[in-house]
């Protein structure tokens, strides 16, 4: 059951996420215009902005997925508003710590803070501990939050039911049904817990070196594996949380029957947890000292992860829509567009996850190309769909607004135009994470300017959505029930 306090907390999350999103997009546009030499930033300022852009985007969209799941869980289990408020409050503190370390302290080791770069201090001395403590705080708080939600699910569903094992039989009808939303949320939260525990171990190792004054030194290859296990998994699980909301909301706003958990839905999502936890090896393809078996597992798991996604989720959405008269609105429109962006980004990811391609694509603009596609045109749209849906709950309305054609055009032209410049750059060997490009690679300049221009169009769409949503989000604070 949703309460007013849950609505208020969710509203606070939405306002905070969108404000941070708008600022983080502005940082991204600033970077592209600097790469295009339209403006001129000091390299340390550029890389500080790059660091804060990455960490903010990963953070806010993980939170968006978690808080959406937290809201929808209240339909099935008793949820704790206190836990939600705790997560919100400490997330704000963690973000402020990270922003202070990067924007004031000029910490610029990148959001992946690849060891031992954070310890080669080229910024305020306090920047490194503040950044790492900020991240540690976020990891611990989200860990507590995720464990809390898993515990809440386990009160109503046994472990086996939460994983929908009773649905695996093709002949027997299960005594108790596990809704797809519960299954996907549970699987994704388990993935998040595993990756946040890894983050905590990683932080402990880094702090051990930092505070031991040279008494303890880390192994760079081990730390790199841990870093990418954490980074890759959190980014992917955030997207899966977005899919959980899609399964729950899309049919009901489209006037279609709810999705059901069948044997293949259960099996597909159980397998995706396994694949997503082993696909991260693809980040280390160019480390030839890594055991070759891990590299092969990386390519295999990256390929296999696409099977349940495509055969289960994508086809479910196609079957939901195809040949059925759908009441299209902003909510299911964003979900549908998001699925399209997610698949297109997934193709870009599969190309990069192929080792023989990776040797000429690794750390080129192909990397931001594919992850911006499935984030900016995938996961973000899933979360925005949830925001519009819950915004109507705030004002007790079932009358969802239409998807304005101009807004749709701004999103598509801005979003895809922005990522296309990255893909062309990647195929032309332009490196990622360069504040400016050397003269040999100056094709990157014009692509960056165009990318920045398209991203500005995308930003206009987000500002439009922000203004639209704020009316409903603010209203909930003056509501008496």
């Amino acid at each position: 059951m949703t309460t007013l306090s849950l609505k208020k907390t969710t509203s606070a999350w939405i306002i905070t996420i969108l404000v941070l999103f708008i600022i983080a997009i502005s940082f991204g546009i600033t970077m592209r215009f600097n790469q295009g030499r339209d403006i001129n930033l000091n390299p340390d300022t550029f890389y500080s902005i790059m660091t804060v852009h990455g960490v903010t985007m990963i953070g806010i969209w993980s939170c968006a997925g978690m808080m959406a799941v937290n809201y929808l869980l209240s339909r099935y289990v008793k949820t704790s508003v206190k836990l939600n408020v705790f997560a919100y409050a400490f997330t704000v503190v963690g973000v402020l710590m990270i922003w202070a370390s990067t924007l004031i302290g000029k910490f610029h080791a990148g959001w992946t803070f690849l060891y031992p770069l954070p310890f080669r201090v080229a910024w305020a001395k306090w920047g490194t501990p503040l950044f790492l403590w900020g991240l540690t705080l976020l990891a611990v708080v989200w860990l507590v939050w995720a464990i809390g939600m898993v515990a809440q699910i386990l009160r109503n569903y046994s472990l086996s039911e939460s994983l929908a094992f009773q649905h695996l039989s093709r002949t027997k009808t299960p005594a108790k049904e596990t809704p797809p939303f519960i299954l996907i949320s549970f699987v994704s939260l388990i993935g998040i817990i595993i990756c946040l525990v890894t983050a905590a171990i990683l932080m402990a190792l880094l702090f051990a070196e930092y505070y031991s004054n040279g008494g303890f030194v880390n192994d760079p290859l081990l730390v790199k594996n841990l870093t990418y296990f954490f980074g890759h998994t959190i980014a992917n699980e955030a997207l899966y949380l977005g899919l959980a909301t899609l399964y729950e909301i899309m049919p009901e706003v489209s006037g279609r029957p709810k999705f059901k958990t069948t044997w293949y839905v259960a099996l597909g999502w159980q397998l995706s947890l396994f694949f997503i936890l082993t696909a991260f090896f693809h980040h280390l393809y160019m480390d030839f000292v890594q055991p070759i078996s891990f590299q092969i597992i990386g390519q295999m798991a990256s390929y296999l992860a696409s099977i349940p996604s495509a055969v289960v989720t994508v086809l479910s959405v196609i079957f939901l829509v195809f040949g059925n008269k759908i009441k299209w609105n902003i909510v299911n429109g964003l979900f549908f567009l998001g699925v399209t962006g997610w698949i297109i980004g997934g193709i870009g990811a599969l190309i990069d996850a192929t080792i023989s391609n990776n040797i000429v694509l690794h750390n080129t603009l192909w990397v931001p190309a594919h992850f911006h596609t499935y984030n900016a045109m995938g996961n973000v749209l899933f979360s925005l769909a949830f925001f519009f849906w819950v915004g109507n709950e705030f004002v007790d309305s079932k009358d969802y607004s239409k998807f304005n054609k101009l807004l749709l055009a701004l999103l598509i032209i801005g979003g895809f135009g922005f990522v296309i410049m990255f893909y062309i750059g990647g195929a032309n060997s332009i490196p990622r994470r360069y504040s400016v490009y050397p003269k040999e690679l100056n094709l990157g300049d014009i692509l960056a300017t165009l990318g920045g221009a398209f991203a500005s169009v995308y930003l206009l769409a987000i500002l439009w959505i922000f203004i639209d949503l704020m009316k409903k989000c603010i209203k909930v604070f003056s509501s008496a029930r």
């Binding site: 030839f288 099977i307 055969v311 023989s356 195929a427 040999e440």
Partner: protein, 184 residues
């Protein structure tokens, strides 16, 4: 056709097909649509799709895996070994091993169409070691990681001046980090 152009064409054509399917599915759901029926026998269709997709992935996997850098030129004895050590924000290249405290930078020439082995490490943070040809195309790469030596083998098909860029973010001078060598 070089790999980069091939994957770009592959990506854009796949993205166009996906966009067209999405539009077709969307159009089929319009209130004005008549004589449309929702999908019949969805489980069978899922099965067919699963089989086709798995088959495509299995073929691509089998074809591409042997082309991975870990397997190419491994049965050949390198004609030349080049030692590479990266530091913020420069590369050291030499024909003999490089000691951390003895900076060494030599002019490197390697033979065309012969196997060359680059032994790449770093003396501080993680760096990238990416080789670009005269047309500024990325030819091959590996990582330069402190405490480890990555062995990259390559056979250059064209003579010329090759550039080296760092492709792993390593700090505020990352974009300035480059070197070069000659293939004769």
């Amino acid at each position: 056709m070089k790999v980069q152009l091939f994957v770009l064409i592959l990506f854009f054509s796949s993205a166009s097909v996906i966009a067209l399917i999405a539009y077709y599915v969307f159009r089929s759901s319009q209130p004005t649509t008549t004589n449309k029926e929702s999908v019949k026998d969805p489980i069978k269709k899922r099965g067919i799709f699963l089989f086709i997709w798995f088959f495509i992935l299995a073929v691509i996997f089998s074809v591409t895996l042997p082309k991975s850098p870990y397997y190419i030129f491994t049965d050949e004895t390198p004609n030349q070994v080049v030692y590479v050590a990266a530091r913020q924000f420069f590369f050291m290249l030499a024909n003999e091993p490089i000691e951390p405290n003895v900076p060494k930078m030599e002019k490197i020439e390697v033979p065309v169409n012969k196997t060359v082995e680059f032994r790449v490490t770093s003396f501080d943070v993680n760096h990238g070691f990416a080789i670009y040809n005269e047309r500024s195309e990325l030819v091959t790469q590996t990582q330069a990681m402190p405490g480890y030596v990555n062995k990259l083998r390559w056979k250059f098909k064209e003579p010329g001046n090759y550039k080296i860029f760092c492709l792993e973010y390593c700090g505020a001078g990352h974009q300035l980090m480059q070197s070069s060598f000659v293939v004769k």
